[in-house]
């Protein structure tokens, strides 16, 4: 059981095996970095396509890709045909405009903000500014994880919330609006936005690992049992090895152990 | 712009005596260049009010070019240079900037009927409407009068609202004339208006020209010598951008003073 895309390019490339991976745009950059290192020492070509979690899962199921990447939990139907491997965790940070004075929030406050119970920063110790909530799209792994941990449902999200696709867009949106608050992955944090600590705990990898910081979600590799080749298995093994996990940590993700 | 009251009636009754007729158009030493190429050479001509002046001459001699200088249609062509004097009603038309007024006063009918893709009514009402006339009754009146004036009313009165492009060539040409008349111009320029028409339509248009003479000053370009003979009072013979001879029509056709004119009108030319 080899993938069709893999077969095709494999033939044209000679004997080098091509490993086709596709899926989440959040997992993609990490996977690309891992693949870059792995290809250097192994006779293999890894194709990574960042096309979204669902498309990647579909590709894995129907054999277009050997491995799918997902940043959301698998649905029950999907679990029937797929095996999943957590390759790393992704920390989620609540961010605001750098000028915002609010640097710490309790989990309840976060919930109140996103469900619209609190609508002005002055109620949270900030300036007298209306709050503009920025969320990811429904179905996104970050959003699912964030909502589950904070404790509200999609239906409760304030209706006027801006919905942005992708970490990059949330970051750009928050960075250009002093009213805004949103949440993004650890790895995308930079000076343009201001991270908020939750219950006084800073968003760092250590704090996630020692369970002090609870906002995180898994990065998944999924595959159909029969479709996974030895080469594919070896790549997964490499990722889970200390060397692979070190690369993950380097690029901003949180290692599995 | 004081719209339509370019009163014709007032001027009407003074056309009795040819000699006393006013100079309507006076052209003096007109030279015209298309880029480098000179197309008109020192053209001088006086055109009297309420006369029909025919312009004849072989192809490419500059008849159309000259006609188009009279309402400054040549302005539309890139690289045209004009010098000399062209005075209409005492005003040098190349000194004024009001081309619109000039063209309202000097109407034009083209060789190929060029009605717009609209109804017959809209074609004729087009000019007046653009002059700002909105009143329905007034427009109706103008359209009817103009179509009657162009001897086409009876043929089209029942289909005013249908497309003008459905008419025959001869009908279209007369609607073109109606369209020009609707502006109540004083001068009407016609560039081979019947060359696309059959003899009957031609006859109608010629009769029309004869009757229009009472009210308008008409300048007509024609290839048809018989036509020139039939409709015009004066005839100018053009050759290579020059006016060779300009005189009473019957003089031009019976005893021209220039050999070249004679050669041409008797068909011995070339």
């Amino acid at each position: 059981g080899n993938s069709s895309a893999g077969d095709k390019t494999g033939d044209l490339e000679g004997n080098i095996h091509t490993l086709a991976i596709s899926g989440s745009t959040s997992v993609g950059p990490l996977a690309e970095k891992l693949a870059e290192k792995y290809e250097k020492n192994n006779n293999i070509k890894i194709e990574i396509n960042q096309i979204g979690s669902s498309a990647g899962i579909t590709n894995a199921i129907n054999g277009v890709s050997e491995i799918g990447m997902s940043s959301r939990e698998l649905k029950d139907e999907e679990k029937e045909s797929l095996q999943e491997t957590v390759i790393a965790y992704d920390g989620i940070v609540v961010v605001t405009h750098p000028s915002n004075k609010v640097k710490n929030l309790t989990m309840d406050q976060v919930k109140d903000i996103f469900t619209g119970k609190v609508t002005n920063w002055k109620d949270l110790g900030g300036d007298d500014l209306e709050i503009v909530v920025v969320s990811r799209e429904d179905g996104s792994g970050s959003r699912d994880a964030f909502q589950e941990i904070v404790g509200y449902s999609s239906g409760e999200l304030i209706k006027s919330a801006i919905v942005a696709s992708g970490n990059g867009n949330i970051k750009t949106t928050v960075a250009t609006n002093k009213h805004a608050v949103g949440f993004i992955s650890f790895e995308y944090i930079d000076d343009s936005v201001s991270p908020v600590s939750i219950n006084g705990v800073d968003a760092t990898a250590e704090n996630v690992l020692n369970h002090k910081y609870v906002l995180s979600r898994p990065f998944l590799f999924v595959h159909v049992e029969d479709n996974l080749t030895n080469e594919g298995q070896k790549f997964i093994d490499y990722i889970l090895s200390p060397e692979g996990q070190a690369i993950a940590a380097e690029s901003g993700a949180i290692p599995v152990q | 712009m004081n719209t339509i009251v370019i009163d014709r009636k007032t001027v009407t009754d003074k056309s009795v005596n040819t000699t006393e007729q006013q100079k309507k158009i006076a052209v003096k030493d007109l030279n015209l260049f298309y880029g480098e190429k000179q197309a008109l050479f020192d053209v001088s001509i006086d055109i009297k009010e309420k006369e029909v002046t025919a312009l004849i001459g072989p192809s490419g001699c500059g008849k159309s070019t000259f006609l188009r200088t009279l309402n400054r249609m040549n302005d539309l062509i890139d690289g045209v240079k004009i010098n000399g004097k062209m005075v209409i009603d005492g005003e040098d038309i190349y000194q004024t900037n009001d081309v619109i007024k000039l063209r309202t006063k000097v109407g034009m009918v083209f060789q190929k009927p060029n009605l717009f893709p609209m109804s017959i009514y809209d074609n004729v009402a087009y000019g007046p409407r653009m002059q700002g006339i909105k009143n329905k009754a007034e427009l109706n009146k103008i359209v009817e009068e103009s179509l009657r004036g162009a001897a086409i009313w009876d043929e089209v009165k029942d289909r005013l609202k249908s497309s003008a492009l459905g008419l025959s060539g001869g009908q279209q040409q007369r609607v073109c004339i109606a369209r020009a008349i609707a502006m109540k111009p004083e001068v009407i320029l016609m560039d081979e208006p019947t060359s696309a028409l059959d003899p009957i339509s031609t006859l109608k248009v010629e009769e029309l020209i004869a009757s229009m003479k009472k009210e308008y000053t008409i300048v007509i370009v024609t290839h048809n010598m018989q036509q020139a003979a039939r409709v015009s009072d004066k005839t100018a013979f053009f050759l290579n951008g020059e006016i060779i001879e300009f005189d009473e029509t019957n003089k031009i056709f019976s005893m021209p003073s220039d050999q070249r004119t004679e050669d041409y009108v008797t068909g011995r030319f070339g």
Partner: protein
């Protein structure tokens, strides 16, 4: 009164043109302002690195591949389809319906085309995620544009040309490619340039069918990443606007080159007619 109206309208015409040009200048200016700092030899020809975003040569190559293949397929089909609709088919209900459907399809968001391509070309036809699958999808996207613009320019070819040619005992086909198509060329060409723009600017339909592999494509059956997809990805996930703009600069230069080439070719074609 009329004069005032004229002057207002003239003013509006100038204003509209000014606005268009201003928008053009602003957008291009913004893209250059943001991105020019990143442009370097290495940015284009260096090795691609996932972290830096440089080394975009593979994406340039992929972009050119997709344009070439899509236009190579869509141009003949589109032009010939337009010829059929305009010159051969009996004008009536059926043709109008086809026309109507074609027009309506120009408004379907490209993500739907992308999903269709992913199901039909990638999976059903087993082309895999590949340049060819993306190009076929793009072909469908630009067909309506080519058909409509070609039809419009065919309409403007004078009837007298057709009659003149047919009266010489030539066939419809000969008349078509010797007289009609050459006269319709300028219009067809501007349609092609618009289509090219649409292909270049497309992202959603491409990443679902060609994928996002950031490597030099080995063949048209390889999965690969176009410049636009690249700029999409870096905006979407990393929010790296400088990088997206730098890719934009490369795109603009590429479009310029392609447009100039197209104009040049059309001039050549026109010359051949004289």
């Amino acid at each position: 009164m009329r004069k005032l109206k004229d002057n207002i309208l003239l003013g509006l015409l100038w204003f509209a043109a000014f606005l268009t040009v201003a928008v053009l200048v602003m957008i291009v200016g913004y893209i250059f302002y943001k991105g020019i700092g990143l442009i370097s030899f290495d940015f284009i020809f260096g090795d691609y690195s996932p972290s830096g975003g440089g080394g975009i040569l593979p994406m340039i190559v992929t972009t050119i591949y997709t344009i070439a293949i899509s236009l190579l397929i869509a141009t003949p089909i589109g032009i010939l389809a337009a010829v059929y609709l305009q010159e051969y088919a009996k004008q009536g209900r059926l043709v109008n319906t086809i026309r109507f459907a074609t027009e309506s399809l120009t408004g379907i968001p490209s993500i739907i085309y992308g999903l269709f391509g992913a199901v039909f070309f990638v999976t059903t036809l087993k082309l895999g995620m590949s340049i060819i699958a993306a190009s076929l999808t793009l072909t469908i996207i630009v067909l309506p544009v080519i058909i409509r613009t070609t039809e419009e320019s065919l309409k403007t070819v004078p009837r007298t040309y057709r009659e003149g040619s047919l009266a010489l005992g030539t066939t419809k086909l000969q008349t078509l490619y010797k007289v009609i198509l050459p006269s319709a060329m300028p219009g067809i060409l501007s349609g092609l340039i618009l289509s090219m723009g649409r292909i270049i600017g497309e992202s959603a339909a491409i990443f679902l069918t060609a994928g996002t592999v950031a490597a030099m494509p080995a063949s048209i059956f390889s999965s690969a990443r176009t410049l636009t997809v690249h700029s999409y990805l870096v905006t979407q996930e990393a929010g790296d606007i400088e990088l997206a703009a730098a890719v934009g600069i490369v795109l603009i230069v590429l479009i310029l080159i392609l447009n100039l080439t197209a104009t040049f070719i059309s001039k050549k074609l026109n010359k051949a007619n004289y």
